[in-house]
């Protein structure tokens, strides 16, 4: 147990996700030994992030404006919306450079055991975005785990409307993995989603 402000800093760092008491202590001592200009910059950023960053009014992605850069970009295809759980997923899909449409961030997945139901997600806002008929395809890109699949099932039920195509990201074998280690569910999905080799 350290005295005063050092212990307070360790305690605060220890509240961050994935940071245990040992890691918190290591970070605190790293900060103590770092140049004060770097520490000031970190402190400034921590203060500003809560003031400047908000959620996009249209898609729910993180943004420093009322709307995010993707929603403001006129070159994006406004007929396709990709639905993801978290803003982190937008970054992951953008890295592929395969998708040129818009996004909708739900803010999580349906998980009754954690007390999260459909009303706790941004599903109502998604339905409002679809009301004017501009969007012709919704790609459901929730995580390929149980909560993500159940959320996809619920969304599919809610999105049944004429002229709207609802698709789900393919799932199957990971690139770079060994077939013998694939579990039955993943391998079964890979078989279901097999394609003709041209």
């Amino acid at each position: 147990m350290y005295e005063g402000i050092v212990q307070e800093l360790i305690d605060e760092l220890g509240r961050l996700p994935g940071i245990g008491p040992k890691s918190a202590q290591r970070i605190a001592f790293h900060i103590l030994q770092t140049e004060s200009v770097d520490v000031s910059r970190l402190a400034e950023l921590l203060t500003q992030i809560k003031e400047r960053v908000r959620f996009c009014e249209i898609c729910g992605n993180v943004s420093e404006e009322d709307t995010c850069t993707i929603c403001r970009d006129p070159r994006r295809n406004a007929q396709t919306i990709c639905v993801v759980e978290e803003a982190k997923d937008v970054v992951a899909i953008e890295r592929t450079r395969e998708f040129r449409g818009l996004y909708h961030v739900l803010g999580g997945a349906i998980s009754p055991i954690d007390g999260i139901g459909p009303d706790d997600l941004r599903i109502k806002q998604l339905l409002q975005r679809l009301a004017d008929g501009t969007v012709t395809e919704v790609i459901i890109a929730t995580d390929p785990n149980l909560e993500g699949e159940a959320t996809a099932t619920y969304l599919t039920r809610m999105l049944q409307q004429p002229g709207l195509r609802v698709t789900r990201l393919a799932s199957g074998l990971p690139v770079g993995g060994d077939l013998e280690y694939a579990d039955e569910v993943t391998l079964g999905r890979a078989f279901e989603g097999r394609r003709v080799v041209e």
């Binding site: 994935g18 998980s111 149980l146 699949e149 159940a150 619920y154 280690y181 579990d183």
Partner: protein
């Protein structure tokens, strides 16, 4: 016994660190187990979907001080994928595993394990309305845990029934003489359905009307939450369609 092996149903998972998960399982011989599955969130993880909720797996674990560590897992049955295709079934399954989590400990009986596997299997096969499977599971799981309700004879005096006054705190229906003032009375159909769900009489249960199912569901939810001493978060998210019977709606239309 640093290394051991058992059959287990995955009840729930929590994210841990960068790519790990804490997996809560109900096993056949070791009761409830909490173990770390390292790297399970990576797409190339050797565990893949084997440690997702509602999966039954043959797991090998390394005993730790507070948490064990999963070293190997082989699927025995995968109910999750099928259950997730039906939203009502998914919400019912969540309530079932939350109850199993709350009712079980390290000394949990094999009957609790077998009952849970049976309920999840039935949900994955879409054999019956999910709400009926959930309600029957709740009554039977509580019975195994020692809180069997009485729906015929008086729960206090043992006086032969039928009785209609239902008191959650007293353990079921009670004779009019011992019923506290203002005790609600259940109708005959609801009591018949409750008895059928407790004994697994599916012919009677499936013949019940949707209104009766809703009333029985409310009674069972109150009874369960009273004995668990805390509300079940999943119960309030159970889809209303879970007690809906498509066959009944078609014949009524």
């Amino acid at each position: 016994m640093p290394l051991y092996r058992d059959e287990a149903v995955v009840l729930r998972t929590h994210k841990l660190g960068e790519a790990d998960r804490i997996v809560t399982m109900l096993s056949r011989r070791h009761g409830k187990i909490r173990a770390v599955a390292k790297g399970v969130r990576r797409t190339a993880s050797k565990f893949g979907a084997r440690l997702e909720p509602f999966m039954v797996a043959d797991v090998q674990l390394y005993e730790g001080r507070s948490l064990d560590t999963v070293t190997q897992a082989e699927s025995l049955a995968s109910y999750g994928a099928e259950i997730a295709t039906d939203y009502a079934g998914y919400t019912a399954a969540c309530a079932i595993v939350e109850t199993a989590d709350r009712l079980s400990d390290a000394d949990s009986s094999v009957q609790q394990y077998l009952l849970l596997v049976g309920a999840l299997r039935s949900l994955s096969r879409h054999e019956r309305p999910p709400g009926l499977i959930l309600d029957s599971y709740l009554l039977r799981a509580l019975s195994i845990a020692g809180w069997a309700p009485s729906f015929v004879d008086c729960a206090v005096t043992g006086a032969p029934g039928p009785h209609r006054a239902f008191v959650v705190q007293l353990g079921g229906v009670v004779a009019d003489e011992v019923a506290p003032p203002g005790t609600p009375r259940l109708d005959e159909q609801t009591l018949t359905l409750l008895g059928a769900l407790l004994t697994g009489d599916w012919v009677t249960a499936e013949a019940s009307a949707e209104g009766t199912r809703a009333q029985a569901g409310g009674v069972i939810a109150a009874y369960t939450q009273y004995h668990l001493e805390r509300g079940l978060r999943s119960l309030q998210h159970v889809d209303p369609a879970a007690r809906h019977d498509p066959a009944q709606s078609e014949s009524g239309a």
